[in-house]
């Protein structure tokens, strides 16, 4: 049986065993589709205001209702997918690459590389995300790029730590020694022998982290950092809708908040599913 067929069979087995994970994968596909094709799918222009139709509860014309400026909530929710996902993906990608490079180096060579990386990650971890983001915004200005950088920096320690531990476990493994005997230099061993082995647990970490990254992006815009009106983004929509919740207009905040929840839930389930796929012994 070829490697592909074998992987597929294993994949189907895990999916079958865990229908929840299968649902998560389906939802993931939907979210990606929305992010990619959102602007074309949305029934109304997310920025089009219509003062006459403001604060309308959900109806057939507007399934999610309209907000305080008469904009269609559903269109805004759909379009926001791209922005939230975009911010999260950029931040996670940045921190993944830099973090795993740092962690691998620290785990493989130890010594001072390890100590310095450890101190850097300790220092970064001392700053709660929101706190650091506020500091960065205060210093460098309120823009989406700065928010991405702040989120990337905060996520760095997670990747660095996982990479470090996974690399350190394998640092003196038999196959690494054997690779040295086969004429491989240390750097080549790290890249071609060790890294492919730590990729699975790192992928699990990426998936779990994505959920958190989306939450953070939304949370930051909730307190006014990063994305600004009139852009459609889940966090901002909840913030704008917050003032109306206490007076009973619940739909402005509910739909974007639920979309947010669903997306994060999906990524977390995906992460758990990936973990089962990769190493069933470590199911949590």
């Amino acid at each position: 049986m070829t490697a592909m067929a074998r992987s597929f069979r294993h994949f189907s087995y895990v999916m079958g065993e865990n229908p929840v994970t299968a649902a998560a994968f389906a939802l993931f596909a939907l979210i990606v589709a929305l992010a990619a094709f959102g602007p074309w799918i949305a029934p109304y222009d997310p920025l089009a205001t219509d003062a006459m139709n403001a604060l309308q509860p959900p109806s057939w014309a507007h399934p999610f209702g309209t907000d305080q400026l008469g904009r269609d909530v559903m269109s805004r929710v759909i379009v926001a997918t791209r922005l939230d996902l975009g911010i999260a993906v950029s931040a996670v990608a940045l921190s993944f690459f830099i973090g795993s490079a740092m962690g691998c180096a620290a785990g493989f060579w130890g010594g001072w590389t390890d100590r310095i990386t450890g101190r850097i990650t300790d220092t970064i971890m001392a700053f709660p995300l929101f706190v650091l983001a506020m500091g960065v915004v205060a210093a460098l200005g309120n823009s989406v790029e700065n928010i991405i950088y702040a989120t990337a920096v905060i996520n760095l320690p997670f990747y660095a730590r996982v990479a470090r531990v996974e690399t350190a476990i394998r640092r003196n493994a038999g196959f690494v020694q054997a690779a040295r005997l086969c004429g491989n230099s240390d750097l080549r061993i790290l890249a071609t022998q060790v890294f492919p082995n730590i990729l699975p647990p790192m992928m699990v970490q990426v998936s779990l982290n994505m959920g958190w990254a989306i939450l953070n992006a939304a949370g930051l815009s909730f307190i006014g950092l990063g994305v600004r009106p009139p852009d459609a983004e889940w966090g901002i929509m909840v913030a704008e809708g917050a003032t109306y919740v206490v007076s009973g207009e619940w739909w402005l905040a509910l739909f974007p908040g639920s979309a947010l929840m669903l997306a994060v839930f999906c990524f977390n389930l995906l992460g758990d599913g990936l973990r089962d796929l990769v190493d069933p012994l470590r199911r949590t």
Partner: protein, 585 residues
């Protein structure tokens, strides 16, 4: 012996739910242990010997289930498959009080954050064998009984502060504290040094005999079973294939599997060809191509030339102790108060040489420095002092970190102990074998590479169809062959074998040893064979070196050292190897 046997198992069948369906782990297993008897259960990996013990004591994994059969303790049904004969609470009362069990990996089997004395106390208090007032005293008594020195102080010790042998003694103390009548010992000496093994087993034998206890000893080591058991039961793939008193089993084995096991276990007088010479035995599953079928040693050994291939001169290796690095913590060090030894000396000035075509055995227990020596010789590690001269060139002049890129790299290769660990889990067998060919021989890819890989596979008796498989899809023996193929791929002059068969089942070990011997003769390599097992070393090597605490204590021809050891350490090492002694029966 009157009344019931202390343990009686009848027709036990156990199944496990796994990802690949239901697996039958035990198939109609029946055995009996008489009062005061020591029964050995012998088998290789997967034979079901441990599963039997776990089922009897009621500690089977949640995925396992006894589907039929029965087990009785002194007439009282412990379990009767299908119906619950003894509730969990009653069974729990029995455990530790009537039936006890000790396990392998003793340090992991003790609570790491609880003083060992308290762990003994816990059992005493649980079974009402002591009150809170005298529990500590009784625990200390038990520690004395298992011959742990300074028992009052050691009461407060944590497992990580004790050696493996001491941890096993503590486990024995815990198991025997409430004076049970049956002890089940599941591979209690795996992972321990040969001399420690003997001490631990002797202690266990003394204590159990003293108390008239029955023992079930589970082991893969036939020699150990012979030395300590009255009767032996042989298991294969979940079935019992033979049961007999020790003398009878060894002198007149009936089942072909028993004969195969007996033949494959090297003794002081076996020859290499004897290991697989079992008359009317089915052909070994492992071998494939005709070229790889091993023949008894009929071809004479290749001549050993006079040229020195390897010279090791005054090799020294020291490792700095943890915490002694200084640099900021110096002021803390002054407060330590303990021994101020700065460094640990792993290798303390050894010298030896090896001629072309010769095989040298390097023997010793763990911590003697043999692995460090072999690492230095293969240039994976730099020595603190001394030289290694290979084929006339001083290879210690190059740093280990740079050695991988030098042409000299292909002159020495290594076969590792654990075939699973030494293969990259994400590389297929072909990828692993191709690695040195690409790096050291410059074979880029395509037909030339594939042809060479195919050639190597055939040389080591690995079927071509297995080349695309990954390590988790290969058996232990097959993985070992891949490791060997990779090592010989670049035509090394010297092959260092670091305990290459200790992780393999004894029957597989026999085949691999014969393969190694054949390769040596066909390819004209020289070997350094590192092992703790003198009997195995004797089969492949002309000369042997015995190491202890970083020094060479004895060296000479293998036969001579084994039959007439001069050094007291060598003598104690040989004496500690458990084996069948017909004179004792």
């Amino acid at each position: 012996m009157t009344g019931h046997p202390i343990l009686s198992v009848q027709g036990l069948c156990v199944e496990f739910r796994t990802r690949n369906g239901t697996v039958r782990a035990l198939d109609d297993v029946s055995l009996q242990v008489a009062k005061g008897e020591v029964l050995g259960i012998v088998g290789e990996r997967g034979s079901g010997k441990s599963v039997t013990a776990f089922t009897v004591i009621g500690l089977l994994d949640a995925a396992g289930r006894a589907v039929s059969g029965q087990a009785d303790y002194d007439g009282v049904p412990l379990l009767a498959a299908g119906k619950k004969s003894l509730g969990e609470k009653d069974l729990n009362d029995l455990r530790g009080r009537e039936i006890s069990m000790i396990f392998q990996n003793p340090r992991a089997a003790l609570n790491p954050i609880r003083p060992v004395g308290k762990q003994i106390e816990d059992v005493l208090l649980r079974h009402n064998q002591a009150t809170r007032q005298d529990a500590q005293r009784k625990a200390v008594d038990m520690l004395t009984k298992v011959k742990i020195l300074e028992p009052e102080r050691r009461y407060w010790a944590y497992p990580f502060e004790l050696s493996g042998g001491m941890c096993q003694r503590v486990m024995i103390a815990i198991a025997l504290a409430c004076k049970p009548r049956l002890l089940i010992a599941d591979e209690p000496t795996t992972g321990l040094d040969v001399t420690t093994q003997k001490a631990t087993m002797d202690l266990m034998a003394d204590l159990t005999r003293e108390r008239g206890m029955s023992v079930v000893l589970i082991t893969h080591d036939l020699g150990m079973a012979a030395a300590y058991c009255d009767r032996i039961v042989v298991m294969q793939k979940g079935k019992i294939v033979e049961a007999a008193p020790v003398a009878e089993l060894f002198k007149d084995p009936k089942h072909p599997y028993t004969k195969k096991l007996l033949a494959a276990s090297p003794g002081p007088d076996s020859a290499l060809g004897d290991l697989t010479a079992v008359p009317d035995a089915p052909p070994a599953v492992e071998t494939v191509s005709p070229a790889a079928v091993t023949k008894p040693m009929a071809t004479p050994a290749a001549p050993v030339s006079e040229n020195l291939l390897l010279e090791v001169k005054g090799l020294v290796k020291t490792f700095p102790r943890r915490g002694a690095k200084g640099g900021g913590w110096v002021w803390l060090k002054g407060h330590k108060g303990r021994n101020e030894e700065a460094d640990f000396v792993a290798v303390d000035g050894i010298s030896f040489s090896l001629r072309r075509g010769e095989s040298l055995g390097l023997v010793g227990e763990s911590g003697c420095g043999k692995s460090t020596t072999s690492s230095i010789v293969t240039r994976l590690l730099d020595p603190t002092a001394g030289q290694v001269i290979l084929d006339g060139e001083d290879i210690t002049a190059f740093k280990a970190a740079r050695f991988a890129r030098l042409p000299q790299r292909s002159k020495i290769q290594m076969v590792f102990q654990d075939p699973t660990e030494s293969l990259n889990p994400r590389y297929s067998a072909a990828d692993s074998i191709a690695d040195p060919l690409k790096r050291l021989k410059g074979l880029r890819g395509g037909r030339q590479l594939d042809a060479r890989i195919g050639e190597l596979a055939e040389m080591v008796g690995l079927p071509q169809s297995l080349l695309t498989r990954f390590p988790h899809q290969l058996s232990g023996g097959q993985k070992a062959r891949v490791g060997i193929a990779r090592a010989i791929a670049v035509d090394p002059l010297l092959l260092v074998l670091d305990e290459p068969t200790s992780a393999l089942d004894v029957s597989v070990q026999a085949v691999v040893l014969q393969l190694l011997d054949r390769l040596k003769r066909e390819l004209g390599m020289s070997y350094i064979f590192v092992s703790h097992d003198l009997n195995v070393v004797r089969l492949l090597c002309e000369r042997v070196i015995v190491m202890n605490k970083g020094r060479i204590v004895e060296s000479g021809k293998a036969e001579a050292v084994l039959k007439q050891p001069q050094d007291p350490y060598t003598r104690s090492l040989i004496a500690a190897i458990p084996h069948f002694e017909p004179a004792k029966m």
